[in-house]
């Protein structure tokens, strides 16, 4: 269970590293499909609860596929659309950070910002 302080710190990391860099919507979920926290740029109307359930299922299915071919995990997933794209990154053993972004921001920048955010969230979770 995350403490109040941990959740505040995670929200701050998501805001400063991702939302302020141009990512439209970020959801931090656990692998059971629960949304731990969610932040967006104020212009989103996503059903984030359904999204979290589907994302966890998607990640878990890919994880199971990885094991079938002898990989311990695929720690990164990326889906590209014409307008929006989704980037998944494993944070801890049990949690995933999902970032949704438009064409106005490059995948390279998202990956860089996500990796910074993941390191910080990991530190918060381990604290």
């Amino acid at each position: 269970m995350f403490s109040h302080e941990q959740l505040n710190a995670i929200d701050k990391v998501i805001k400063t590293h991702l939302i302020d860099s141009g990512v439209e919507n970020v959801i931090y979920i656990d692998l059971a499909g629960n949304a731990i926290t969610q932040q967006d740029n104020g212009n989103q109307t996503l059903d984030y609860m359904a999204f979290a359930a589907l994302a966890a299922g998607n990640f878990a299915a890919v994880d199971a596929m990885a094991k079938l071919i002898g990989e311990s995990e695929f720690s990164l997933l990326f889906h590209k659309g014409t307008k929006s794209s989704i980037h998944f990154s494993k944070v801890t053993e049990d949690t995933i950070l999902i970032s949704m972004f438009s064409k106005t921001i490059s995948l390279g920048l998202v990956r860089l910002k996500v990796s910074e955010a993941v390191a910080k969230i990991n530190a918060i979770c381990g604290a």
Binding site: N34, I36, M49, A56, G57, A64
Partner: protein
């Protein structure tokens, strides 16, 4: 395990409808979704094959008000019942807080009910969970078929087959017509809430 968000004062609880294929798991969720459409803010998500069989899961979230200041969100899931999808069933069970076992009372399904329950036990073990300490409700579904002269398994036999050791609450139900669907749901919610109280307070 239920997700408790102390900042948002919110609890998310995962309840999974489990059982053999074509037993009525999705129909349970569809009935709940249809009957309480006005009170449910999210759409029901169904990942199914072209012939309407569940491929991955169905998902239906709704909130049931506040308990001791915490907003309680119930998330209902089904698993795919077909035998070949056991890897998927295991995935859906991750983090489960309560289970409704939907048994099909048609006579020819007797063996499949037992096999499915045994597999549930095994699948939970892979997540280090024990069926015997999990909030669980039995639902003996398709009771409406009795009136149509279909051969069904008597409830006493179902209880012996599936519930003689577990001894959990059991309901005869008709998911299609809604019979005892809500009773089953209310029971599993109250049992699950009771079991996670220690985490909350």
């Amino acid at each position: 395990m239920a997700l408790v968000n102390v900042k948002k004062k919110e609890v998310q609880i995962k309840i999974v409808y489990y059982g053999p294929g074509r037993g009525g798991k999705t129909t349970n969720l569809e009935y709940i979704n249809h009957t309480y459409r006005d009170q449910i803010k999210s759409e029901m998500v169904s990942l199914k094959t072209q012939d309407d069989r569940t491929l991955f899961f169905d998902f239906l979230p709704f909130d049931v008000g506040r308990i001791k200041g915490f907003k309680v969100i119930i998330q209902l899931y089904t698993v795919p019942g077909q035998v070949k999808y056991n890897a998927t069933r295991r995935l859906v069970l991750k983090g489960v807080d309560g289970i409704v076992f939907v048994a099909d009372i048609q006579r020819f399904q007797r063996k499949k009910n037992i096999e499915s329950l045994n597999q549930l036990y095994e699948n939970l073990k892979t997540h280090n969970l024990d069926l015997f300490s999990m909030p669980l409700v039995m639902q003996y579904n398709k009771i409406d078929l009795l009136k149509q002269g279909v051969e069904v398994i008597p409830t006493k036999t179902l209880q012996q087959d599936l519930n003689s050791v577990l001894r959990v609450p059991a309901f005869e139900a008709s998911a299609l017509g809604g019979g005892n669907v809500m009773k089953t749901l209310k029971k599993i919610i109250s049992m699950t809430l009771a079991s996670i109280q220690d985490q909350l307070f």
